[in-house]
Symmetry: C2
Subunit: 700 residues, 2 copies
Amino acid sequence: MSLAALVRPSSVAVVGASDNTDKIGGRPLYYMKALGYRGRILPINPARQTVQGIPAFASLEALPEAPDCVVVAVPGQAAIDAVEAAARIGAKAAIIIASGFGELGAAGKAEEARMRTLANAAGMRLVGPNSQGLANFGTGAIMSFSTMFIEEPPQDGPVAIVSQSGAMAAAPYGLLRQRGIGVRHVNATGNDCDVTASELATEIVQDEGVRLLLLYLEALDDPAMLARAAALGRERGVPIIAIKSGRSAQGARAAASHTGAIATPDRTVDAFFAKHGIWRADGMADLVRATEMYLQGWRPQGRNVAILSNSGASGVLCADAAERAGLPLATLAPETEATVAAALPTFASPKNPIDVTAALLSDPGLIGKVLPAAGADPDVHMFLLAVPISGRGYDFPGYARDAAAFTAATGKPVVLAAPQRQVRDAFAAVGVPAFQTEDEAIAALSQFARHNEMLARPVAAMVPPRPAAGPAATSSEAASLDLLARFGVPTVARRLCASADEAVRFLGQIGGRIVLKAASAAIPHKSEHGLVHVGLGDPAAVEAAFARIAATVEALGHPFEGALAAEMVRGERELAIGGVMDPVFGPVVMIGDGGIAVEAMPDNALLLPPFTAADVDDALARLRIAPLFQGVRGHPPLDRRAVAAAAQAVAALLMDAAAGVVSVDINPLMVTATGAVAVDGLVETAAGAPAGTGGTETRG
Amino acid sequence: MSLAALVRPSSVAVVGASDNTDKIGGRPLYYMKALGYRGRILPINPARQTVQGIPAFASLEALPEAPDCVVVAVPGQAAIDAVEAAARIGAKAAIIIASGFGELGAAGKAEEARMRTLANAAGMRLVGPNSQGLANFGTGAIMSFSTMFIEEPPQDGPVAIVSQSGAMAAAPYGLLRQRGIGVRHVNATGNDCDVTASELATEIVQDEGVRLLLLYLEALDDPAMLARAAALGRERGVPIIAIKSGRSAQGARAAASHTGAIATPDRTVDAFFAKHGIWRADGMADLVRATEMYLQGWRPQGRNVAILSNSGASGVLCADAAERAGLPLATLAPETEATVAAALPTFASPKNPIDVTAALLSDPGLIGKVLPAAGADPDVHMFLLAVPISGRGYDFPGYARDAAAFTAATGKPVVLAAPQRQVRDAFAAVGVPAFQTEDEAIAALSQFARHNEMLARPVAAMVPPRPAAGPAATSSEAASLDLLARFGVPTVARRLCASADEAVRFLGQIGGRIVLKAASAAIPHKSEHGLVHVGLGDPAAVEAAFARIAATVEALGHPFEGALAAEMVRGERELAIGGVMDPVFGPVVMIGDGGIAVEAMPDNALLLPPFTAADVDDALARLRIAPLFQGVRGHPPLDRRAVAAAAQAVAALLMDAAAGVVSVDINPLMVTATGAVAVDGLVETAAGAPAGTGGTETRG
């Protein structure tokens, strides 16, 4: 069932059609008439021959043909009746404007499910309820009652908006229209009882006229559909920027594992968006800030910025802002500096940020000379022109033309920062995005460059979640480590010992010192009970520890199941790796700093499998402890490859259906310059998937 | 010498006066005439009887009276001659517009010094050179050639701007005027050869009409003067917001000590601003964002925000933005929720963020009822109204009036976020600051509330830097620890031992295990040379270690000066405390996380002495390791008081002139639940101030 009937309907019936253009049932008719919708408009009103001058019908059943789309602008039971009638007569889609359904509770949700089942059985799709409606300014099919289209008159253009909230569809539309940007689709889906915002996005992103898609999501229950929209967008070169609101509403996930607590739903959304090349905007300002840059279709080769200003002070502010944003200043090659210097007055510096000085007043061609000179350098990926001194006496329309000509010739992005309105308007008029301040310009450049980098990375398909096979159970440490080892995680040398003799033999094999712990999975917090003995270096110490463990376990009322002996491992740093099976997003892997503060002072990253070693490298580079992978103060660099391999092994374990794993906590993963070893590990499995059989002795 | 002649001159002479109003010598005359300057305008031009219709004089000497201020609008040698003439005839001040002096190098700097000396000897003050000039729109004394006053026509008002850069004086003026905000002073001081931006600020901040001061600084060589401006501003209730640019230009300070490398000039500026209640703006957007809030004169009692919206989605975005900004949402008391609920429709939630729902359309008085109901709660300090759905059919001028009435009655700040221009304009018209997006509104609330908190804290006077008495020398560890102990830093139990016997006796006194290190101050990197032996628990081990140290020191060609024996100390966490004598800002103390990564993974804060234990608490609370002071995973909270006491002891040591200390590094400061002990310490002293005498045995 295509969604074309919602996005490009050839006929639209409005149930509850009204002559009052400020009423929900009046607005769509008003807009469609005013904007010259070419399809058939079919007002439904039992009391009127015409509505707003258009011939009306008494009911959906009275229509001469089945409409593509029915707008249900009546409330409560009448809305339900209208949906049933629409399905009966063979309408392809219906948009339910009425609120008072799923957002009020279970009864409303049940009613929504009933309507969906009935509609889908008849081959009809539903948008809403609680939808402000869908608007297509390319065709004039405005099935929406938003007031914003009166406040800020529409103009068709390359931007599309899909939002679960009416207000958050209207707001970016309004902000973009105030900047003169054309918007084609403004869609507010409401409760998403059938067609979700994500599914609608898959249709919208294929519209030939759309070059940028903005999303506002409150809930994201169908990430696979959004991943599909992102893939379709990539194919067509349509970037997606999305707000997923409700970060602050996230409580901790009720999770037995540390990784479960760390991988909050909100952080999982971050990882999902990053994987699929969707830029996550924090709020409305972020959502619309860089629109003009996206619409230029630029594909910068990197994120290095060259700054050109006629004020040294503004150049420094640009450099400050770039540093805060993590945008490197391009380093000009000596030959570039020579050609830039040749274009500049003798007293001006050709170094980046380039100060063209007050000479711009007497030589209006300066920007047109310096841009190509600096832009020839391959290390320069983007330009920021900062022109805080301008206006009367300055040929800023000429500067704007020079900037536009340069970007047209080279494809290198150029944006402007200028406090004067006239100057901004002159640049915007020739397609050079213009910002009030250095900060805003840098924020836009930063987002655009990073999003571009995300989109340039290859993307693997989403791994769907595996439904829980039953209640989860935590395996013993020995069994957990065995399972991890089986999937390729290097684990500490160990032996599950039934007797002190066995433990002493293990010490003899290992040499050095060992740790002895009670093996009972049933006893948590072993060290608090004195069930963990470290640094045992001779047979007498091992025997004594074994005896005390056995006695303590029995004193606690548990059967003694032996003791796990393990080699004492030293490393440069304790890291942590974990994983959870998210019920919506599927497997999620966490890598980061370990130790006691894994939750209190978190420093970790999430990755959605499958991922490459390069993806792990990128994630490690974003951590606070990233310098440790370079080596700090004479300490050797940590082994990045070993960490990546361990993370990939955890991913493989999570993805393995037979293993049935729902969570993994490895802490510490002891990392050295030449390896990584899981010292402690706990695995939770869903029922029916044994985690392994203890007692083996492994060193991965 | 008051600066009144610069800020409120009763007569202004212009050397280089021109009929061309676009010339540097023509603009000031044009502006002063156009804006009705009431003082005497005295054009100086040897070739003309009148300039722009004003009677002119052939030279400064030809003037009938000494002018208050002379604007020097001629370049090079003519500018120098004019300054000399102005001094000769008894002018009170001169503004040198010409560039080409100190900014070009040493010769220009020397010329500036010569002009300053000559002028000051005659009782005259100098602004510039390389100054765009000073403008007072309260009196019409526009001694500036900025083009911006043409682009954005002036209007007197409560904001003052003092900037070292012309462009960065004009830019905030332009941005504020575009928002309709009146600006009184726009001052660009240039090279600051005599009157600095900071000194000018001390004068401007005392202007009765000024209620907010914006600063742009590239260099800050006279922090004491800026501290004075801040103190005067506090007295009058004039907040100061300042950009100090060049963050990105900061290389590492050439410093022998770690603390010196950590306390970069830029971070020291941060600490200085924080101490004196000056809000540091990152860039131009930050500088002007919250202006309307400052001008309301609000004094919120805290930073808790209540959010009111007619869109649930917008309310969530506000809450998300507040969380990112660290602004807590106010928790409404049950009785508040009851009164709010009584004002709302039954289906609406009275919880914060409060959703007034679409009922606002039918009940335009809703905001006027809910604001006072929620505002009666003492936990609510500020309001954010988010109205993304409005326009036609909505009584937004009424909402604006209700919001203005509420804030007038209660003094609680209210700001608006709305995408529609008409809605923002209606609120701005009645004095309610209005922003396009939730993010912008929250950013403004956050800055305003935090700045307010800074200004409410008591401030201690600045401790001036102590000039270095000579080249610095590093004391031995024993001497360093002794000096630290003398000033009250708890230090590890230790003894400087001349013989192995002495070390063995020390072990006997201490019990447990000890560390033995070579005492030679001349040998760096002792552990790399095998000169540090840890974990020595019996006499034989101590004797062997002592012998090896003695042999190694001699093998390295140094005289053996004994070994420092110290108790092995265990703690919950290794912190670091340090200090440096900054040549501009005086003593600076650093506290933070210790260990190997003190520079590579920095987590520390700077404080300028004198400071209180509460100041240290605030600083610790901003650290990443802050949770450790609460206790993490069964570990007891670190002793915050002991850390504060140690930091204050380091401050006392730095402030003690006799000690002559230029830097301190304590790393680690071993911190437990009940104390803190300096285990390693190094002190650098300037010549002539011995750091102490080794060999004592102390436990602080």
